[in-house]
């Protein structure tokens, strides 16, 4: 192939430069396809250009780029292989040229959104390269009748093979991005499902086991009182009552471990105060403002505080820790800090620490927030979660 086949070497040079710029601009399919469409219209002196790209399933084409006014249709037009002229080109790996009366051509299919009747002539070529295989189809249309020559077709095909590799990369990139997004959604769903399950279990224990135990304790109390106090049966019933109280305590501990009711009943600030008191190893103070946030946000912040305080207990060797909750009009900030030994953020923290930090960061990100960690050897550690919004319930 000697060049792209353009008569004017300057125009050919400009086209090549344009293609190089387009394919090195970035990994996104949309901008690449739009640039290619624009370059093709300029290089071929046509009126509009459509770039159809094969789907991941390789079973259909989707409009990935178009020159105005059809750029708004990108992503909306989809045709099966074999359907329409482009589908025919894709399935046969052959170019197609229609000078006029395309409605009469058996391959033609009318797409109202692509303005068929306004355009007289068209050329359609496969966009393919040896390493990438068939990636899609390039179409050009003119209002005035035009007899596309072999040279025109060769030019289009050459452009197609030049950009096919980049287009293929862009498809892979899009597929990876979608997969990553799905993975993120999955993590989100797992956390949400886990929280929902914990809440359900805690509710079941509260309404089922706990209340029955409470009732059992009262009946035992009544039975004990009905007997002379030194009778064997009375002693046994008192023992049974003690066991009931112990079991009740265990049920509470289970509920508290699953989903602290204080969070649901009294809100985040009280939940944090209760959490702080449950830490026996280090005195923890809680300061800040009370505010009600959406339930999933309160739970995320509570779990972050829980994890951060567990880190303080396990690693910080601190004598004090503080939990601070601040709400203003635009965001809510939770800070857990300690006066312990700190660590060097640049050095890789231990696996357990880095896992803890990652899970806190994930929780923050899942509710649209972020987590920052500040620490220095000898100067304590502070973990700050910031989430947007302060919608009261």
């Amino acid at each position: 192939m000697s060049g792209l086949g353009l008569a004017d070497p300057e125009r050919e040079n400009a086209l090549l430069t344009g293609i190089i710029e387009a394919i090195s601009a970035g990994p996104e399919l949309g901008p690449l396809a739009a640039s290619v469409a624009r370059l093709i219209v300029a290089a071929t002196a046509t009126d509009i250009c459509f770039v159809h790209v094969l789907d991941d399933s390789d079973g259909a084409l989707t409009l990935a780029g178009a020159t105005p006014p059809f750029d708004c249709q990108v992503g909306r037009v989809r045709l099966a292989l074999g359907e329409g002229v482009s589908g025919w080109v894709a399935s046969r790996h052959q170019p197609a040229v229609i000078a006029e009366h395309k409605e009469a051509d058996p391959r033609y299919r009318y797409f109202p959104e692509l303005g068929g009747p306004g355009y007289t002539s068209m050329a359609s070529v496969p966009m393919a390269s040896r390493p990438a295989g068939l990636v899609g189809v390039l179409n050009v249309h003119t209002r005035q009748r035009r007899d596309f020559t072999d040279r025109d077709v060769r030019l289009l095909t050459s452009i197609g093979s030049l950009v096919a590799g980049a287009m293929h990369q862009a498809r892979l990139h899009r597929r990876l991005a979608a997969r990553e997004q799905a993975a993120e959604r999955f993590a989100e769903q797992v956390i949400a499902a886990q929280e929902a399950e914990r809440q359900r279990l805690a509710g079941d224990i509260h309404d089922g086991i706990t209340q029955r135990l409470v009732s059992l304790a009262y009946h035992l109390d009544a039975a004990v009182a009905a007997l002379p106090p030194d009778e064997v049966a009375a002693r046994e019933l008192r023992r049974a009552r003690e066991l009931t109280d112990l079991t009740l305590n265990e049920a509470h501990a289970a509920i508290w471990g699953l989903r602290p009711p204080v969070l649901e009943d009294l809100g985040l600030a009280d939940g944090l105060a209760s959490l702080a008191r449950s830490i026996a190893q280090v005195p923890v103070t809680v300061t800040g403002t009370d505010c009600r946030l959406p339930e999933h946000v309160e739970i995320a912040l509570y779990r972050i505080a829980q994890e951060a305080l567990q880190n303080v207990v396990k690693h910080a060797q601190a004598s004090l820790a503080e939990v601070e909750l601040r709400c203003d009009a635009s965001r809510t900030t939770l800070r857990v800090s300690d006066n312990g030994q700190g660590f060097d953020l640049a050095a890789r923290p231990g696996d357990e620490t880095s896992y803890g930090l990652r899970s806190m960061a994930e929780r923050a990100e899942l509710v649209g927030g972020r987590l920052t960690v500040a620490s220095r050897p000898g100067l304590g550690t502070s973990v700050t979660a910031t989430v947007p919004g302060r919608s009261s319930r």
Binding site: H206, D207, T210, Q211, R212, V214, S215, L216, A217, Y218, H219, D221, A222, A225, A226, D245, L248, H252, P261, V262, D265, L266, D270, G271, A273, S274, R277, P283, T285, T287, L320, E322, E324, S337, N339, R376, L379
Partner: protein
């Protein structure tokens, strides 16, 4: 102790608990009489209005609504009626919230018959009744806070960092010097200083120093 028994209405969304309570209170007929019961917040308001009991014994959690909200409504609408909250949760935050919404006390559901009856009588007589274990715990945290075990100024509501910044201010350090000492930014020091002024009710550094010395924050 009293001429006539305390008239009590029981509110709990668990039928079994209501039955248990009645069984346990049955032998105290001379001291306590259960005149009515309700299993939901909506029913409770009607029952209390109709029966005008001396004391309402109410679960903190009612399915679909909160016993704390109900307590607030009851004490607003029937100021003469005393509301004792009953809960399985041994947590100070519930106690504080209960007292804030006007409860006459906070008892744990593991309470024995004798203790419950005494509590009902005390509540009826206008006393505030708190589960003894929980009361002891609250007293000890208050004592700890008062002795400034956490850090200087904690009892004035200063955070640990604010206490450190106030220490610098009292020592006559500039914001820059405090920032360097604490390895934080100048702006952070300024925002801590503003929070300190607000919490101490002063408007400047001199005021903060005076308040810190007056309150004996730094000795």
């Amino acid at each position: 102790m009293r001429g006539r028994p305390v008239r009590v209405v029981l509110i709990d969304d668990h039928e079994l608990v209501l039955e248990g309570l009645k069984a346990m209170l049955a032998r105290f007929t001379g001291r306590v009489r259960v005149v009515g019961e309700a299993a939901s917040a909506d029913d409770a308001l009607g029952v209390v209005t109709a029966l005008a009991p001396d004391v309402v014994l109410c679960d903190v959690r009612l399915r679909g609504s909160s016993g704390l909200d109900l307590c607030r409504r009851l004490t607003e609408q029937h100021p003469e009626c005393r509301v004792l909250l009953l809960s399985v949760y041994e947590d100070e935050q519930y106690l504080y919230q209960a007292l804030r919404v006007g409860a006459a006390g906070y008892l744990l559901k593991r309470v024995g018959g004798e203790e419950l009856v005494r509590s009902l009588e005390l509540a009826c007589a206008g006393e505030t009744v708190v589960d003894p274990t929980l009361a002891a715990r609250v007293a000890s945290s208050a004592a700890r806070l008062h002795s400034q075990e956490f850090w200087p100024g904690a009892r004035l509501g200063l955070s640990q960092r604010e206490s450190e910044v106030l220490g610098g201010i009292v020592a006559g350090l500039s914001n820059r010097a405090i920032a360097t000492q604490l390895v934080i930014g100048d702006e952070t020091v300024k925002s801590h200083a503003r929070a300190i002024y607000r919490k101490l009710g002063v408007s400047d550094r001199a005021g903060a120093v005076a308040a810190a010395l007056r309150e004996g924050v730094f000795r």
